[in-house]
C-alpha cells in the first residue's frame, strides 16, 4: 500500500502543475471563456435545428409543407450556429482584454473587425458578400488566432498610451471612445497589411492559408481514433486525481472538436452525409457524458444492482438523481473513484472500450454520427444520444454502452462493496462487544 500511495503522490505532483499551467494560461482561459460566451447562442441554434428536423414530420404534414416549415426555422441556426466563429472571436477578444484590465468590449469588437478584414468579401463574381462558412467552421482557427493577436496588439498600443486626451468636462463615454481610437486604428491597420501581403501569395487570403496549413491537418488528426482515445484517457487520468479532466483537456481540444461539429452541421443541414464521426458531441454525449465524466451512470446502476454495504447504498441514493442529469461529483468523490486503486482499471478501460464501440458503430453506418447539434450536457442519456444523432439508433447505442460499462465495472464494484460490507460488519461487532 505504501508504494502505491507514494506512486500516486508522485503522479499528482506531476499532474497538478500541468492542470494549473493549462488552466491559468491566459490564452487557454480566454479561449475557454470565449467559447462559453458563444454557448447560449449555439444552444439556441441547436434547439431549432432539432425542431426543424423532427423525425417523421415530413410524412405527417407532407413534403411541401415540411420544406416551408424548415425554411421558416432556418434563420435561427443561420444567425447563430452557422456563424459561431464570430461569437467566439468577440468572446476571446473580450476575455483576453478583460484579463489585461483593458476596455473589454473594445477588445472584443476589434478582434471581430480584424477577422473581417482578413476574410474574403467576394464570392465568385459577387463582391460585398461573405461566405457563411468563413464565419463558421472554416473560419474557426483563423478567428482564434486573430482574436489573440488583435487583443494583444490592442493592449500593446493602449499601454504605449498613444491615446487622445480629452479636456476635462468631456463626458466619460465620449473620451473613452476616443481613447480607444488610436490603439484600434493601429491594430486594424496591421491586419489590413497582413491581408494585402497574403493577396500576393499563392494562398490568396489568410483564411485559405490557415485553413490549409493549420486547421485541416489538425482537425484531421483530432478526428482520428488514436488521438481521440488519447484525449479520453487523459481526461480520465486527470479525474482520477480529483482534477476536472474535461475542463483541462477541452481547453486544448475544443477548437478542433467544435470545428468538426460545425462542419457536420453544415452537411446535415444541406442534406448531405455527415463527414466526421468524432466531434464535440461524440465526446460530450457518447464518451464523457453518460451520467457525467467517466460514464458513471452505469456505476450507479451497478450500485443499485449489487450494492449490499450501507456505504454503497447511501452513495447510490445521493448520486442517482444528479447522475440522471450527468452531474456525478457525488459518485466521483463519494464512492470514491479518485485515488482509489481498486477502480482505476475500469475507470480507464471502460471509456476507451466505449470510444471504440461508438466509433465502429458510426463508421459502419449502424448508427448515424452526431449531426453537429449541440445538446446541453445536462440532457439525460439516451434522449441525449437520440437528439445528438437525430436518430433512435443514437439512444440505443448509449443504452448498449451503459451495459458494456456496467459489465466492465461489475467485478471491481463487487470487490469494493465487499470491502465496505466487511468493515461495516467489523464496526458493528466491535461496538457490540464494547457495549
Amino acid at each position: 500500500m505504501g508504494t502505491v500511495n507514494k506512486f500516486m503522490d508522485v503522479l499528482e505532483n506531476i499532474l497538478m502543475p500541468v492542470a494549473d499551467k493549462l488552466n491559468n494560461n491566459r490564452y487557454l482561459t480566454s479561449l475557454r471563456d470565449g467559447f462559453m460566451i458563444a454557448l447560449p447562442l449555439i444552444i439556441f441554434g441547436s434547439i431549432f435545428v432539432v425542431i426543424a428536423n423532427l423525425p417523421f414530420l415530413d410524412l405527417l404534414i407532407g413534403e411541401e409543407a415540411y420544406a416551408e416549415y424548415q425554411a421558416a426555422l432556418a434563420p435561427a441556426s443561420a444567425g447563430t450556429l452557422s456563424i459561431m466563429a464570430t461569437f467566439v472571436i468577440v468572446g476571446i477578444g473580450y476575455k483576453l482584454t478583460e484579463f489585461y484590465e483593458g476596455e473589454a468590449i473594445y477588445g472584443g469588437v476589434t478582434a471581430l473587425a480584424a477577422f473581417l478584414i482578413l476574410t474574403p468579401q467576394v464570392l465568385g463574381d459577387v463582391t460585398g458578400v461573405i461566405a457563411a462558412e468563413n464565419l463558421g467552421a472554416k473560419g474557426m482557427f483563423l478567428g482564434i488566432f486573430t482574436a489573440f493577436t488583435a487583443a494583444e496588439l490592442y493592449r500593446f498600443f493602449t499601454e504605449k498610451d498613444w491615446t487622445i486626451k480629452m479636456p476635462d468636462g468631456v463626458p466619460g463615454a465620449v473620451s473613452r471612445s476616443f481613447s480607444a481610437l488610436i490603439p484600434i486604428t493601429f491594430t486594424l491597420s496591421i491586419f489590413l497589411m497582413i491581408r494585402i501581403i497574403f493577396s500576393y501569395t499563392p494562398f490568396g487570403d489568410v483564411q485559405n492559408f490557415i485553413y490549409t496549413v493549420v486547421q485541416a491537418p489538425l482537425t484531421a488528426l483530432g478526428s482520428g481514433l488514436p488521438a481521440t482515445i488519447a484525449a479520453v484517457l487523459l481526461i480520465q487520468i486527470f479525474w482520477f486525481f480529483g482534477l476536472h479532466g474535461q475542463i483541462i483537456v477541452n481547453s486544448v481540444m475544443d477548437p478542433i472538436w467544435y470545428s468538426l461539429a460545425t462542419e457536420n452541421l453544415a452537411a446535415f443541414q444541406a442534406g448531405e452525409e455527415v463527414p466526421h464521426i468524432v466531434s464535440k458531441q461524440f465526446i460530450d454525449s457518447f464518451i464523457v457524458g453518460m451520467g457525467g465524466s467517466g460514464m458513471t451512470l452505469a456505476v450507479i446502476l451497478g450500485i443499485f444492482l449489487i450494492g449490499k454495504s450501507r456505504q454503497m447504498k447511501e452513495i447510490g441514493k445521493i448520486g442517482a438523481p444528479a447522475g440522471i442529469f450527468n452531474v456525478n461529483e457525488p459518485i466521483i468523490f463519494g464512492l470514491p473513484i479518485i485515488m482509489n486503486p481498486i477502480v482505476l482499471l475500469p475507470w480507464l478501460v471502460a471509456p476507451v472500450v466505449v470510444t471504440v464501440i461508438t466509433y465502429m458503430a458510426m463508421a459502419s453506418g449502424l448508427v448515424p454520427p452526431p449531426t453537429g447539434v449541440i445538446v446541453p450536457w445536462t440532457t439525460p442519456t439516451i434522449l441525449n444520444g437520440a437528439i445528438a444523432t437525430n436518430s433512435w439508433q443514437g439512444g440505443v447505442l448509449q443504452a448498449f454502452n451503459i451495459v458494456v460499462v456496467f459489465f466492465i465495472w461489475w467485478p471491481f464494484l463487487k470487490i469494493l462493496d465487499n470491502q465496505y460490507y466487511e468493515s461495516e460488519r467489523d464496526d458493528e461487532e466491535s461496538t457490540n462487544q464494547s457495549a
Binding site: 492542470a19 494549473d20 476536472h244 456525478n328 461529483e329 466521483i332 468523490f333 463519494g334 470514491p336
Partner: protein, 102 residues
Amino acid sequence: MKKILLACSAGMSTSLLVTKMKEAAEGKGIECEIWAVAQDKAPKDMKEADVLLIGPQMKFMKKKFEKTAAEVGIPVDVIDPMSYGRVDGKAVLEKALGLLES
C-alpha cells in the same frame, strides 16, 4: 448575514451542496445566503461574498481565485473531497463558518 459563495466548473454539483447547506443553516438557526456559480463567474461574485469555497475537482484554480480574494479580502478554500462526495451540507457549512471566524 453571512454570504457564502461556492464555485465549480458549471455550478451544477456545488448547487447540490447549496441546498444541503441551506438546510443545515436553517437547522442551526444561522442566517446566511449561500449560492453556487460557474468558475468563470466566481471572480465577479466574490465581491458580494464573505467566503469562497471551491469544489475539489477545481482545486487547480485556487491560486487564481486567491488573487482576487485577497483584493476583496475574503478567505478561499477547497472543499474536502469526502464531504463533497457525500454532499455533506453540515460539514461544508461548518468549514465556511470556520473560515469566516479565523
